[in-house]
């Protein structure tokens, strides 16, 4: 477990030193939420009905920004291949890296969701479910996204390709996430969807490290 903590601390220190770069995805989320609110604010009633769906889509899109840079800096300076070379169990530093990525993007989104939810005219009773659904759903987003990021790390301008590879895999998270928020807010039952989100996150956390490791070994081969 030491390797997970070691890598987590290293990533966190790197993020702290490049604070603006780490905050870009969050700023993007805030801006796009504001754009939607401006575009639709006239029909406040209509906006609140679709706010959960809009918010989830924007979270998925903003995650692509942070994922693209997740391995790129280490790939270019050569420390990424050292992880595969030196670590006794390479999955542990990879898990450390993915947890750090989630903590830097997923968690802040959960914490800011009440504020951004109200900007999108979400009714107050929907803010709790939104935060809960995001907390349970964003690990899958980070883990599946990490697989895509590892596949495109060696590709120039891999950002657009990353979206194409990963967004189809996000569809279940989007469907159940939106349904959970709307269901719980309206009291018509969204708990089943929360369980689905949790189950997907557990599956992603257990399987993604293997896929990321395989993808990194492949990307490093033509390094």
């Amino acid at each position: 477990m030491g390797l997970v903590r070691l890598q987590f601390q290293r990533e966190w220190r790197l993020l702290a030193r490049a604070r603006s770069e780490a905050l870009n995805p969050l700023v993007f989320l805030i801006m796009t939420v504001t754009l939607f609110a401006l575009a639709l604010d006239g029909q406040a009633q209509a906006l609140s009905r679709y706010a959960a769906g809009i918010f989830w889509v924007l979270v998925l899109l903003s995650s692509l920004l942070s994922l693209d840079g997740m391995f790129r800096r280490d790939f270019e300076d050569g420390s990424l291949e050292q992880i595969l070379l030196l670590a006794e169990v390479p999955f542990l530093p990879i898990i450390g890296k993915m947890l750090a990525q989630w903590a830097a993007t997923g968690l802040p989104v959960v914490l800011m969701s009440p504020l951004l939810g109200t900007v999108l005219q979400l009714p107050p009773e929907a803010l709790g479910p939104l935060a809960g659904a995001l907390l349970v759903g964003t690990p899958t987003v980070s883990m599946l996204g990490a697989v895509g990021a590892a596949l495109v790390v060696g590709v120039r301008r891999g950002g657009a390709l990353l979206g194409l590879l990963v967004l189809p895999l996000y569809i279940p998270v989007l469907i159940f996430g939106t349904a959970a928020v709307n269901g719980l807010a309206a009291g018509t039952g969204g708990v089943a969807q929360i369980y689905w989100l949790a189950a997907m996150s557990v599956l992603a956390v257990t399987l993604a490290p293997f896929a990321v490791h395989a993808a990194l070994k492949i990307s490093l081969e033509n390094g």
Binding site: L151, L164, P168, L169, W196, A211, A215, N222
Partner: protein, 252 residues
């Protein structure tokens, strides 16, 4: 058991595969031609009309085989990817290179025919309540993703293995995606029944089964031909390809 093992090793050798698969390829080609002709004419002209949808239901005889084929093609891609990653068998990469374009085209055809079928049945060119149509659309995205990833990576060996990882991850996600899409379409279902999932009397179902068999044979024919072409391209410096060239006058 060791018969299987030798077959597995033989399958791995390009030369054996190229020569031994030739008869299978032509055989599947003819069966496909006959089956698809019979099934289509039977479905279009002889099968009875559907009491609710009238004749527009005849589109089922092209839509369903294509969609079923699209899904099985992705299953094959996922398993070929798994074989490539675990046993490093080059032939699995050749198979993936051959399947992706065929699978993508078949999915696009299934999608288009499904959308056209929706027009007379529900009055819209795109019907969000039809679970099979929506999951076919997602499947098309997965195919396009595989195609784009292979194009993006310069080195052939890395591109092959990267696509293998994506195909396996995609395969694991397909049941989850299908379930969530089906659940989502029933959520928006409301009263309308899903026209494309109907229980059919035998005289309506028979041509469909013939067409599905024909579609799988066509798929086998196209993939085998595509694989043998890819093998020629990859092995063109080898002696056996040189020998083949002098022997064969007309090519295929």
């Amino acid at each position: 058991m060791n018969g299987l093992k030798t077959l597995w090793h033989r399958l791995g050798s390009p030369r054996w595969f190229y020569q031994m698969m030739k008869p299978w390829q032509t055989g599947l080609g003819f069966v496909a031609l006959v089956a698809l002709l019979v099934g289509t004419v039977w479905g279009l002209a002889f099968a009875p009309e559907d009491y609710q949808q009238g004749n527009s239901f005849r589109i089922i005889y092209v839509h369903v085989p294509m969609v079923v084929l699209a899904q099985s093609a992705y299953m094959m891609l996922g398993s070929a990817g798994f074989v490539l990653l675990v046993w490093r068998m080059k032939m699995a990469d050749v198979a993936m290179v051959a399947i992706v374009p065929v699978g993508m085209t078949v999915t696009a055809i299934g999608l288009f025919s499904g959308a056209v079928w929706g027009r007379p049945t529900w009055g819209t060119w795109w019907e969000w309540t039809d679970a099979r149509l929506v999951s076919t659309l997602v499947l098309l995205f997965l195919y396009v993703g595989l195609y784009a990833l292979r194009e993006a990576i310069p080195r052939a060996e890395s591109a092959g293995r990267a696509c293998a990882v994506l195909a396996v991850v995609g395969l694991i996600n397909i049941p989850i995606i299908k379930y969530s899409v089906e659940w989502w379409t029933t959520l928006h279902q409301g009263a309308t029944f899903t026209a494309t999932r109907m229980s059919m009397p035998i005289e309506m179902a028979a041509p469909l089964i013939v067409n599905i068999i024909g579609a799988y044979c066509l798929f086998g024919y196209l993939v085998l031909l595509n694989m043998r072409t890819e093998l020629l391209r990859r092995e063109r410096d080898t002696k056996w390809v040189g020998a083949l060239r002098t022997e064969v006058i007309d090519g295929v």
